[in-house]
Symmetry: C2
Subunit: 112 residues, 2 copies
Amino acid sequence: METTKCFYIGAMDRLVHPDLKDVSLAAALHALADPVRLDIVAKLVECPCLNASTACAQGTPKSTISNHLNVLRAAGLIETSVEGRERINRLRCTDFDARFPGLLATVLANKA
Amino acid sequence: METTKCFYIGAMDRLVHPDLKDVSLAAALHALADPVRLDIVAKLVECPCLNASTACAQGTPKSTISNHLNVLRAAGLIETSVEGRERINRLRCTDFDARFPGLLATVLANKA
DNA sequence: TTCCATAGTTCGGGAATGTTGAACTATCCT
DNA sequence: AGGATAGTTCAACATTCCCGAACTATGGAA
């Protein structure tokens, strides 16, 4: 067998967290421009640590949650760390606010 | 002929401008989450009146511009009025800011 | 008035994205 | 080991986006 099946490259152990300077404003807004992701972010303000199952309304498919968390992570909005068999997600408030001053606060303030 | 061919219903003469209370935060962010549309909005701050051709970088296809302006209009960000054979687009700053206080200003401030 | 140039919309099809069930990896607990 | 839990990846389908071509509409020139 000459090729190895490579599941989970850089995923299970090495989650990629971008440098905020590589995140464009459009990408940041895109990440926030979705009701499900807005809810996740708002929830993370209340409970600073959420795993995938608790991040979304129950009933949301696992793969969908995984996708949304990927988008948020790629936009520099959350960081994910592996904790046993779960992944803990936290907001990257400081980093994000340094790159886009006031943006997250304004969005959240407008998110009734 | 029993049916009339109805191009331009509510388009050429009756452009639809939504009530801002019917615009969701996600929709507003989605409208802003695109480099081309961000440029249009930023340009409208400088020159308060733009037609379709002057709104975008030259070379952008007409149908694409038309689409982007539709998205911005549907999000309550711009208003369009027919002026002779062109359509003049203006920002709905006041309306938008009443619905989403500070959002437009913060986004534009971050769009350096 | 007829013709032409300009301004922008609508349509259609291909490209790019988003969604989600199924299969999989990984870890913890008996 | 075996099972339960947590989440990722894949693949297929669905939705959205992009843009050329055809069209409507208006204004001005011949």
